[in-house]
């Protein structure tokens, strides 16, 4: 337990310079983008010189970039994420409205990709080179090659427009007045298509990795020895081969969490899911620096936490990890 806690503390301390770098980097990048929040606002509405000056003053954009960065960091030190001019609300409120949707979508999609991917990977890797293996590999590669928005639109046309089994988008039925389990069921129905679209895209990655990793483990001495000892093939497959082959996948899971946050911009747009990816897109279009910084900070935090969880899971899966000190003592 103490080991886990010290790991968590080390990771969180290590995250601080990473987050600082993320803040300065993002701020600088947005400074280089031509036009500011006032330009973005006027592009949609028009206005005159007086309005332009007044908005720049009101939104604090009449100050230099260094001053604004200083103010932002000072506010952040007080755990204040600032004010979003694009939504006229505190940044934290805007993000917290959307975060649950993205976490739900991302969590379910990763679970689908990881669960189904590794399971099919085991099927393919149980007899590498077999016809089943070939078919699964080709099928998953084809899915991997499909652009996300296209897969999303095809799912909408088939399951929402033609068959009318599922809703074409949104996170839940509008103003349905549902509560409790009925509402959860409604949200689940709305998530089927976006989760499938997002999950299927990444399924191939886990499937291929599991299969390759298993093909390697089969050739290792302990696996061959187990088979030679007469241990049933099924038992070798699950206890020895699959379990060992799973380790690189868990590493991959941590890396994927970041990709999924980005990948969901497209899926969130196609399925009209109000999540962080779409919010980030709007923040850039509106040049809303505090909002974008807030999203990136929250995103970075999510990725750090997921990786932490992955490390803990790793330790549980592989007794060799981190055990050296304790056994020596």
């Amino acid at each position: 337990m103490r080991r886990a806690l010290s790991l968590v503390r080390r990771r969180l301390l290590g995250a601080i310079p990473v987050l600082a770098l993320v803040i300065v980097g993002t701020f600088t990048l947005l400074e280089f983008a031509p036009g500011d929040a006032v330009d973005a606002y006027l592009g949609a509405t028009g206005g005159d010189r007086g309005l332009v000056d007044q908005l720049r003053r009101d939104w604090g954009l009449d100050q230099g970039p260094l001053q604004r960065l200083g103010l932002y960091v000072a506010a952040l030190a007080r755990l204040d994420l600032g004010w979003s001019v694009a939504f006229s609300k505190p940044v934290l409120t805007v993000i917290l409205e959307r975060l649950p949707n993205t976490l739900l979508l991302m969590g379910a999609a990763i679970a689908l990709a990881f669960g189904l991917g590794s399971l099919l990977g085991v099927v393919a890797g149980s007899r590498p080179g077999s016809a089943t293996d070939r078919a699964l590999s080709i099928g998953s590669l084809a899915l991997y090659a499909i652009p996300g928005f296209w897969l999303g639109l095809v799912l909408i046309i088939v399951f929402a427009v033609q068959l009318r089994w599922l809703p074409s988008g949104g996170i839940e039925t509008i103003a349905s007045g549902l509560g409790g389990l009925a509402r959860a069921g409604d949200i689940a129905r709305h998530l089927v298509l976006p989760v499938s679209a997002l999950g299927l895209l990444y399924l191939a990655l886990y499937l291929r990795m599991m299969r390759t990793s298993m093909a390697e483990v089969w050739r290792q001495d302990f696996a061959r020895a187990a088979l030679a000892r007469g241990v049933p093939r099924r038992r070798v497959l699950w206890r020895h081969v699959a379990r060992n082959a799973l380790l690189p996948l868990v590493t991959m899971l941590g890396l994927q969490a970041a990709t999924m946050l980005g990948g969901s911009v497209v899926i969130e747009s196609v399925f009209a899911v109000p999540g962080l990816g779409r919010l980030a897109h709007e923040a850039v279009a509106q040049r809303d620096t505090p909002l974008l910084l807030g999203i990136i900070l929250v995103g970075a935090l999510v990725v750090i936490l997921v990786n932490l969880a992955v490390d803990v899971a790793y330790a549980a899966l592989d007794p060799r990890v981190g055990s050296g000190k304790e056994t020596a003592a």
């Binding site: 983008a33 031509p34 036009g35 500011d36 929040a37 330009d39 973005a40 006027l42 592009g43 949609a44 509405t45 028009g46 206005g47 005159d48 010189r49 007086g50 309005l51 332009v52 009101d58 694009a86 939504f87 006229s88 805007v94 409205e97 959307r98 928005f149 999303g152 639109l153 909408i156 046309i157 929402a160 427009v161 009318r164 809703p167 074409s168 988008g169 949104g170 996170i171 509008i174 103003a175 747009s269 196609v270 399925f271 009209a272 109000p274 999540g275 779409r278 919010l279 279009a285 509106q286 040049r287």
Partner: protein, 543 residues
């Protein structure tokens, strides 16, 4: 009626269904009158596609179609545009309006027995407050039109008299009524920071629908106002604006029957022919007659080559406007002949015609101006910045680059997003040619003359960003701005059109309204020329 119809010339019927066969075509051929004769049915929820969520929903501060689309159902103007009446207006919060002979005052008689959504009575004090504190001081368009408004007298609760410091044409005030005069409740705004008032995000008005709630990124809901001044209306129980950022997904939602309306061409033009064949869906081009957008080549007159009128004429000659209307807009646009669109019955002057497509003439003019073709066949090079506001503005940018190359002008295409485009063109003026999409709002003085008027400060979007300076033009604009006599004023704006097509401060290419795709159960979807941004009190859903 036909006088408004941009598309009549292109052979489209009132309620157009493209290439449809069988049942769909039969329903399209039903005269609109037959539909109107069915008696309206109360009840039902209308779900509408929305592609953006304006942060400020106060139409008195932000007079833009994106805001009106939602807020016009809640907050009403003094009058709305109308197909039938002589001055093109139907009463809303004002019952009648008259201008004085000297142009110094305008008197409005207001509708009695109107209450705000919070139960307080609507009076002339609300109109006076909105005019003096909001339209004149804060509104993007009102700051120009109401600049000379000195005071608003309220002799009784149902009369408002506008007093102007300088003679102000009543024709202009009238034409500005639908878009510029949304009335706010004084009791909620007085003494507060109007720009930061919380009613800007959840408006309170007198309209047929009250504010329901908003879930950012998901939907905005308006609910029926049971005490609306027009008895029996509105018919719908609620209107839900469902946020659908992806246009292809919006088509899907229409086909799946999850939404009943996608307005403002949310369904891409290229998809209309297909979607018109879907049973139960109609493609509609009417209802946008007073919301005309203009496709314009904006010229930076600081560039020496473009300061020569022969070069500007050559550019106009290089553009095949028929091609643009037919191919880029797939027929859903009319060619432009000048700065006032063809569908404006008051001001359009058919005698003013921009230089038409004639590449040979363009080449001759450029040779004459002294810009000979170089070794690579090109005469000179310029930066071309298409506005990102519509697919069509970007596509026209690509077309213009080719059209210019054909006459020996090399254009570097620079595609920016909205914020970057606004900064490059309107603040930095870092462009030579830009493609813009100004809105024509029923009177050249509202937002059209400002495009070519000299002496304006920098950083103002949709004004004279090209730096065009002409004493003749400025004198003409100034004279028209204070001419009270309507015939004289109209004649001056005809002169203005002549001057624009001769001197070409900017080059008009095409003009378009939008299209709606609606469920055929939805009735009264084209009942006025600003339908999409009007109050929808008469809209109903058939079973």
């Amino acid at each position: 009626m036909a006088r408004f119809d941009v598309f009549a010339a292109r052979g489209m019927s009132r309620r157009t269904v493209l290439g449809a066969g069988g049942l769909a075509a039969a329903s399209a051929l039903l005269p609109a009158g037959a539909l109107a004769q069915q008696s309206p049915r109360s009840g039902g929820r209308l779900i509408v596609a929305a592609d953006s969520e304006p942060r400020n929903l106060n139409p008195a501060i932000v007079a833009s179609n994106g805001v009106f689309f939602v807020s016009s159902k809640v907050v009403e103007p003094l009058a709305e545009a109308d197909f039938g009446t002589p001055d093109g207006l139907a009463p809303r919060l004002a019952l009648s309006w008259t201008g004085s002979a000297d142009g110094r005052s305008a008197t409005f008689t207001l509708r009695p027995n109107v209450t705000w959504h919070d139960g307080k009575p609507f009076t002339s004090a609300d109109v006076a407050f909105s005019a003096m504190e909001v339209w004149k001081k804060l509104q993007n368009l009102g700051r120009v039109v109401f600049a000379d408004l000195e005071s608003v007298d309220t002799p009784d609760p149902l009369t408002a008299v506008f007093r102007f410091a300088k003679p102000t044409p009543f024709q202009l005030i009238r034409n500005a009524l639908p878009a510029l005069t949304a009335v706010l409740p004084k009791h909620l705004y007085e003494g507060t920071d109007i720009n930061a008032n919380k009613a800007n995000a959840a408006p309170v008005g007198t309209g047929p629908f009250r504010w329901g709630e908003s879930r950012p990124g998901e939907y905005t809901r308006l609910v029926r106002n049971p005490s609306y001044w027009s008895a029996g209306q509105p018919y719908l129980d609620e209107i839900v604006y469902r946020v659908l950022p992806d246009r292809a997904a919006a088509s899907g939602a229409l086909e799946a029957g999850e939404i009943q309306l996608a307005a403002f061409s949310m369904v891409p033009l290229a998809d209309l022919a297909r979607i018109a064949k879907v049973p139960g869906l109609d493609v509609i081009t009417r209802g946008y007659e007073a919301l005309t957008y203009q496709l314009v080549v904006e010229v930076n007159h600081r560039k020496p080559e473009l300061a020569d009128v022969r070069v500007r004429r050559a550019i106009s000659h290089a553009i095949d406007r028929d091609f643009v209307a037919r191919t880029i807009f797939v027929g859903f646009a009319a060619t432009s002949s000048g700065p006032v669109p063809r569908n404006d019955p008051q001001f359009y002057d058919a005698a003013a015609q921009v230089p038409a497509f004639d590449p040979a003439r363009a080449n001759a003019l450029l040779d004459e101006a002294g810009f000979k073709r170089g070794a690579n066949g090109m005469r000179f090079k310029l930066r071309l910045l298409p506005a990102p506001f519509f697919n069509e503005t970007r596509q026209f940018g690509a077309y213009l680059r080719q059209a210019l190359a054909a006459v020996g002008i090399e254009a570097d295409l620079v595609n920016n997003d909205s914020a970057a485009h606004t900064k490059a063109v309107y603040t930095d003026r870092a462009f030579d040619l830009a493609v813009g999409s100004p809105v024509y709002r029923g009177d050249p003085a509202i937002s059209t003359t400002i495009l070519v008027q000299g002496g304006l400060p920098p950083g103002v979007p949709f004004s004279n960003q090209g730096g065009y300076q002409s004493a003749t033009m400025d004198a003409l604009i100034a004279k028209a701005a204070t001419t009270i006599d309507e015939a004289q004023r109209t004649a001056l704006y005809r002169e203005f059109q002549q001057l624009v097509v001769t001197d070409l401060p900017l080059i008009n290419v095409a003009e378009w309204g939008f299209t709606s795709v609606a469920s055929n159960k939805l009735r009264n979807v084209t009942s006025n020329p600003r339908w999409a941004v009007s109050n929808w009190a008469d809209v109903w859903l058939a079973p």
